[in-house]
Symmetry: C2
Subunit: 100 residues, 2 copies
């Protein structure tokens, strides 16, 4: 019987910018807006909306602080986000494995 290769990859994570954000948050715990922007070479607006998307999905939590009277946006993964990312990676590895 033919199995269905219906590629099961979380839509929210399967996007270059958001994959990058999640990747960084997996290893960085507490990360600044500007760090992500610089590291991923995203425009302000682009990063802002992607962070909102991830926040809406409850994959990340966004904290706003003031440091030296300037706003500072900090992001970190939620447990849900961590799980979603791990599952995404596992799915991806399965796909890659099935190719080899």
């Amino acid at each position: 019987m033919q199995e269905h290769l219906t590629i099961r990859l979380d839509k929210v994570i399967h996007q270059k910018a958001r994959l990058g954000i999640m990747s960084i948050l997996m290893v960085m715990e507490e990360t600044e807006f500007n760090y992500l922007k610089e590291r991923l070479k995203l425009s302000d607006g682009n990063l802002s909306t992607h962070l909102s998307t991830l926040e809406k999905e409850k994959y990340i939590k966004i904290k706003k602080k003031f440091v030296k009277k300037k706003p500072k946006t900090l992001c970190h993964l939620t447990e849900k986000g961590r799980q979603a990312f791990l599952e995404y990676m596992n799915n991806l590895e399965q796909i890659i494995k099935s190719m080899r």
Copy 2:
């Protein structure tokens, strides 16, 4: 010095449906429209446009035949498509490796 993790993944391949199509074509050489449609659970229209996208990019070649007086659409990877897919997979593996 901080490296830039600008995720470098071919936009044409980095999409669930097209990733599925390419994956199948990597192992199947000559594949029918309806096979892809069934295997990937895509609607006719959706598959049709994704195949056109891949064809426009010269990642696949589409042949049209008649079999028992019915149209039959066959697809196969081009060498360019194969290379693009391999590079996509390598990039993906790098990203995964960098996560572990």
